[in-house]
């Protein structure tokens, strides 16, 4: 039997968040197909099975339990709720939890969260980047935020509440006024939220939504005449499904990107089109290849797979890796620019290198803006401020460790 590395895929193609979950899953799977078409990881082919979660925590846990039995190398829960639940199980099962651009922000601290990998960015990175972008727009440094009014319209769930500590911290530092406006799941009714915005007239609105909540928010902004140029979305509120229907109404709306944006011109997309879709093996519609959430899926797959590759470097090339070995690989990821170029991610993202202490590996982001037809980058690279984020991560992770009575990992443990 050929050697195969098994990767469980938890996705949601039904339910309230299907329009956003589907392109992500398409990208994720297409990328794995691409890896196989390129000959696997040093000859080890990938195998995977998709399990539909419907964005439901209990269902996700069931999927996780089902697929982990098949030899999971790592798992991507793809929902903050499920991440919380699976985080508790991972150390026992010895399966790394990879959360690219979601999950708990403090899990960037690898000395406490040994099994969690929020590679390439957490919500604190996202919110910090947004604040920086706003400051830039105001014409300079963070001090320009002083006296401004910023409203955070957020999905009323752990996902939506993640950025609050950072934004509050920043508010303390720079003296802006933060207004918190929760929106109940799934976010189809936001009239009162936007009435409040109309009344308070904040200088900026930060939108922390997912699924239909984003579209609704932008439509309500249009209906109440709030300028879209002053709205900044998280990277889950900055993809085509969010704005497509509003089209011109969303013109000027900004969102932070998790490094990548819509990348139809990138090499990896061209490869996928050539080696997967041309062969009739594409997962979703061809014209969506390279869109924002599709790219997020592809990139998420890539980071996990590179973890496997890194593990192979140490534990034996061409072998199937265990979860523990993959964990080491993910922790010692060093994606240099040449490596990224080779993978086809040139221009899509920046180098990333993780370590025992830092499971995130990079804190870069950009802003892109909807011009009525497509997403266009409108900012330079922004880097979240370590000075702000590090202490926050440390203290929150320490609190978690204290609650769980966890010993921080020793340097020796880090080496193993």
């Amino acid at each position: 039997q050929a050697k195969e590395q098994f990767i469980p895929v938890l996705s949601y193609r039904t339910g309230p968040y299907a329009p956003n979950g589907t392109p992500w899953a398409n990208g994720y799977i297409d990328y794995m197909k691409l890896v196989n078409a390129r000959g696997g990881i040093n000859g080890v082919k990938l195998a995977w099975e998709e399990c539909e979660t419907g964005y439901d925590t209990a269902r996700s846990v069931e999927c996780y339990e089902r697929l982990k039995g098949k030899g999971a190398s790592f798992v991507q829960p793809l929902s903050t709720g499920a991440t919380f639940a699976i985080t508790e199980k991972a150390p026992v099962d010895k399966i790394p939890v990879v959360t690219i651009g979601y999950g708990r922000s403090e899990s960037a601290d690898g000395t406490v969260f040994k099994w969690n990998f929020p590679i390439a960015g957490t919500y604190w990175v996202a919110s910090d980047a947004i604040l920086q972008a706003i400051a830039k727009k105001e014409g300079g440094g963070m001090d320009k935020l002083k006296g401004k009014k910023i409203a955070l319209v957020y999905h009323d769930s752990p996902f939506g509440k993640e950025p609050i500590p950072l934004m509050q911290e920043r508010a303390r530092m720079h003296g802006y006024d933060l207004q918190l406006l929760p929106v109940a799941h799934p976010g189809v009714e936001q009239k009162s939220t936007w009435l409040q915005i109309r009344q308070a007239r904040p200088d900026y609105v930060v939108l922390w939504g997912w699924g239909i909540m984003n579209t609704t928010a932008i439509k309500e902004a249009q209906a109440t005449g709030y300028p879209r140029e002053k709205m900044y979305g998280v990277w889950w509120a900055g993809a085509e499904p969010d704005v497509k229907d509003v089209a011109d109404g969303a013109k000027g709306y900004n969102a932070v990107t998790m490094q990548h944006g819509a990348e139809p011109q990138s090499k990896v997309v061209k490869d996928i089109l050539a080696m997967v879709h041309e062969k009739g093996q594409g997962t979703g519609p061809k014209d969506e290849v390279g869109q924002v959430l599709y790219m997020r899926g592809a990139m998420s797959a890539m980071l996990g797979i590179e973890g496997i590759r890194a593990a192979q470097e140490r534990f034996g090339k061409g072998k199937v890796m265990t979860g523990e070995q993959v964990r080491w690989g993910l922790e010692n990821l060093n994606l240099t620019q040449p490596k990224l170029d080779a993978l086809g991610f040139a221009g899509v993202m920046r180098p990333i290198s993780t370590s025992c202490a830092d499971h995130m590996g990079a804190a870069w982001a950009r802003i892109h803006t909807w011009d009525g037809k497509q997403w266009k980058f409108t900012s330079d690279w922004l880097q979240a401020d370590d000075q702000v984020i590090k202490p926050l991560v440390k203290s929150t992770a320490a609190k978690y460790a204290a609650e769980k009575k966890l010993e921080p990992r020793t340097p020796a443990d880090c080496q193993s």
Binding site: T80, F84, A85, K161, P165, K404
Partner: protein, 358 residues
């Protein structure tokens, strides 16, 4: 004539009032207990235990609680998710704030928190009835959702509002492995199941049913509607609360309020209706149906499609699962409107007559 009580005469009312008066039933139950307590832990895979049996047991317990309120006492409740949440967060606070709080203690205290909450939102039932009461219970649901998201105290000030527990122990035994978790849930279910069964076949159970079937007549023969309704709310929310603690502590380990959303309430209500209102057994069958069937379909459909040479996509499976699930619900209701438990007992009745048709 495999299943007959012929020849089994009851010589005392005590023996007629046993939980399972028919010998065959007792044998089956004994076998069942043997399988559940011995064979299953020995044979079942990790996945079966963790992803199927444990959630099934916990949901069965919750459904049992819901059935007491909805099925026995006739008070429609769509707030069960909230009662679970109150149980879970209540127990969490006791567990995390008080050093050395044993799991069982937290379990009971969590249940009691749910009882208090249940009583509070049960008060409108003294005036509001039927579907209208659903509004009161939904108010409880949405209020609890909101409360655990917004009031930081309940979640020990975690920024995201989600909390977790670990190091579970009962009498010094760790509840970490799948088997220990399974046995723990099973034991809780069995104990509460027996207590609940005792209740529903005692005076209080008859009071609940009387209130459900005709409250004016019940009052005339001396049943206090207030006492009956509130006691049903109390008992039911206690059980649901305990189930909530188990769901959070044992199954999820870490959770957020969305784990007990209104979907959960609906699902629990469906379990008791499809299983059989006013039947302990029905709660179990209903929980099995609603928890396990979709998972079964999800795994079985691709195989089935493979047999006929088709390949269906994940979406296709998910949608087919919805359709088949919906169709099955309707089909079972048409076959037996009073739920699966009734279907089961009709089956037994047929077996009793077997081999004669009538």
């Amino acid at each position: 004539m495999l299943y007959r009580e012929n020849g089994q005469f009851k010589t005392s009312y005590r023996s007629d009032q046993q939980i399972f008066p028919i010998r065959q039933d007792r044998v089956v139950i004994a076998l069942f207990a043997l399988v559940a307590f011995v064979l299953v832990p020995a044979l079942a895979s990790d996945y079966t235990l963790r992803a199927l049996l444990i959630p099934f047991l916990i949901m069965a317990l919750a459904a049992l609680g819901v059935n007491i309120l909805v099925g026995y006492c006739g008070q429609i409740s769509l707030g069960s998710g909230a009662f679970m949440a109150v149980g879970a967060y209540g127990a969490f606070n006791f567990f995390a704030r008080i050093d050395g709080m044993p799991l069982l203690g937290a379990l009971v205290l969590g249940g009691l928190c749910a009882t208090a909450f249940g009583l509070l939102f049960g008060l409108p039932s003294l005036r509001v009835k039927g579907l209208y009461l659903a509004v009161a219970t939904l108010a409880a649901q949405f209020f609890a959702d909101w409360m655990f998201l917004r009031v930081k105290w309940f979640t020990m000030d975690t920024p995201s509002g989600s909390v977790s527990v670990s190091n579970l122990q009962v009498f010094g035994l760790p509840i970490e492995s799948d088997i220990s978790k399974y046995l723990f849930c099973l034991s809780v279910l069995v104990v509460i199941g027996i207590l609940a069964k005792n209740l529903v076949r005692s005076a209080i159970g008859r009071e609940w049913m009387a209130i459900r079937d005709m409250d004016v007549a019940a009052a005339v023969i001396g049943i206090r509607p207030m006492y009956a309704k509130l006691s049903a709310f109390a008992v039911s929310s206690f059980i649901i609360g305990v189930a909530g603690v188990l769901w959070a502590f044992v199954y999820l380990g870490a959770w957020e309020p969305a784990a007990f959303s209104v979907d959960m309430s609906f699902r629990l209500l469906f379990m008791v209706i499809i299983g059989g209102l006013g039947s302990i057994m029905g709660s179990f069958i209903g929980a099995g149906f609603i928890v396990l069937l979709p998972i079964f379909l999800n795994q079985f459909l691709p195989v089935l499609a493979g047999l006929v040479g088709l390949e269906i996509s994940t979406v296709g499976i998910a949608h087919a699962e919805l359709m088949i699930f919906g169709a099955l619900i309707v089909w079972f209701l048409i076959v037996e409107p009073h739920g699966l438990a009734k279907l089961w007992s009709t089956g037994k009745q047929k077996l009793r007559l077997w081999p004669f048709p009538h």
